[in-house]
Symmetry: D2
Subunit: 200 residues, 4 copies
């Protein structure tokens, strides 16, 4: 296959990118000079060589050592653990600056094809919990069908741990309700229900 087609095909696998935009990416690169293309190649190579996954939370990082900057940070609260699907969710939560505990990146969701969670880091999660001293574990998954199935699976797995030693933490979930700026009139029924049920 020629390189234009090959590269278009690879770009079309990028998240949210279709065939047409992939083609525009290739056109864009063709319009760049050799030096600019080398810069891109080099950046991908360095990503490949330098980025590691944190040995505790699986967050990608590229410093020395085996822990990411959050897990290394002595001022973070080691008694809180927040379970997220992927690093983009971790980044969103960090942006709010309202959470100062640790994270654990699950690496995916239960899907119709992988209903047993074999694509998730369940074993590692149980290991972190068994060896930690958490007072609260927050399940911060999307309030989507996949997120809810995943949440149920995790809860079951975590509860199994209690057969080994008594669990001393609270297990919490993010609040569901009306989003900021939302309107009752246009809210879907289920959101309005959870806003009512969670009132306080």
């Amino acid at each position: 296959m020629d390189s234009i087609k090959k590269l278009t095909e690879l770009f079309a696998k990028f998240p949210t990118i279709g065939q047409r935009t992939a083609g525009r990416f290739v056109s864009y690169l063709i319009g760049q000079n050799k030096q600019e293309m080398d810069e891109l190649i080099k950046a991908i190579q360095e990503l490949k060589n330098n980025v590691k996954l944190c040995s505790f939370c699986f967050n990608p990082y590229e410093a020395d050592g085996t822990l990411c900057s959050i897990c290394q940070n002595v001022s973070r609260d080691k008694q809180l653990l927040c379970i997220v699907e992927k690093e983009a969710d971790l980044a969103s939560i960090e942006n709010t600056k309202k959470y100062s505990g640790l994270y654990f990146i699950l690496g995916g969701m239960v899907t119709l094809r992988k209903i047993d969670g074999s694509n998730l880091r369940i074993t590692e999660l149980k290991d972190r919990i068994a060896n930690g001293k958490f007072t609260e574990i927050i399940i911060a998954l999307n309030p989507t069908p996949e997120g809810k199935s995943t949440s149920l699976l995790i809860e079951r797995e975590i509860k199994e741990l209690s057969t080994l030693k008594p669990l001393t933490f609270r297990l919490t979930h993010l609040a569901q309700g009306l989003p900021v700026g939302g309107e009752l009139e246009y809210a879907d029924e289920e959101t309005l229900e959870s806003a009512f049920e969670g009132r306080k």
Copy 2:
């Protein structure tokens, strides 16, 4: 002014309708036969003549008596009061079938132009509360800036009542958080914050 222009102008004041759609409404009516136009005229006339506002909650209704069907319903819980902005919000909440108390339609929101709430039914609300035996009053306003200002105003007014007699009800608000189907990655910061703060 001729009737085409006049009617276009009146339709253009309907919510969400601009000049162009108003014009299409008039074209549509011109295309109707006389009998169909009479039917529309009659329906508006009956609306004008028959619809009353409930003497307790201000919900429009057209039965006999002075109370709407909700306020008349003996099986509704008279110890719960839910304050909403407008009847469309009441209808949304009724749709969820999760609330069985009474309502009070405030009739608007605090706006930048009417910052004192003089366009709202504050006096009537205080009267209902002073004469009721509520155990919970739910402020169910949109989590928008207007909704929050209105909420603050209502809370202050309600607390003033306590100088007359001790208040025995809880004052609650709908939960804010991630809407059903939402995603952490795309949630705005403030929504994610409230989802975190309201976790349980």
Copy 3:
């Protein structure tokens, strides 16, 4: 049926309006005072009583006489006839101020259900053409499947006229091509084809 439901149902038949917006219209009217509702009722009544269809082109109007203001206008070019589907299309063309001839409103399109054009003013159109002295007849229908089927039907019917007397006019169609502000890259194939075929 009560008047709220009845009126909601009638508004939901308005073009582009669904059940929910129809409900908002009714709420809006309930919020109006009696005088404002009377104003709306009166405007619809006057529309019903005063608006006539032009005896030549079927454009709605409400002056004295049997012709609309365009057909009455002595400075319009009586040798040009522009066939449109509906008055909104006539209004769009008038807005461009580039056409100074007469119009004929066909009153609809060929549809899958009415494939014979029995819902259109074909007879009246043929009458206007047979009795006119046109040098050009412009078929100004939407370049949609319905518009194209309708166009074919009209052309066939117009050509039948030539068995009675020789036709002396040109039959033209609006140009198809790239819309102003459009982009080749995103144009659909058929539009780009017609832009190519119509190049000059």
Copy 4:
């Protein structure tokens, strides 16, 4: 700068890509294994090494020789030249399968910052025309303000050629008008004007 930031920055320069999507691209790559990253690196390297611009029309290609597959194709009509802004436009026109002549990629548009066309291949275009035997030259630029300014500039430059030798080709433009599926009622005024002016 670390490689995550660096690569995010480079992806954010891709057409239509913002900071957030660029970040998702990087996350996606981190989730790939080394072999998949190598495949991407290799494809970009081959693009850099193999892709040339056609010595006649500037279309990128990667075969042997100095001409792209279109310019090499003996069955293409060498008397037709179609001037386009960029290869995506060429690809769109090829998709219609209605044009069998040659192309010339201008490499950009007149912009407010480059009003003199110094960023365009004007010299090369004049060279191709002076040395060709064209019967028609089609200016196939977007009907946008930039496209129209560019079109004017090209026409002026082409006409200058006639001081050297008599020009024997027609200079044409793509048709402007209603796009397929468009509606008169919603067409912008200028599009409707050109549909009227170009009627036939």
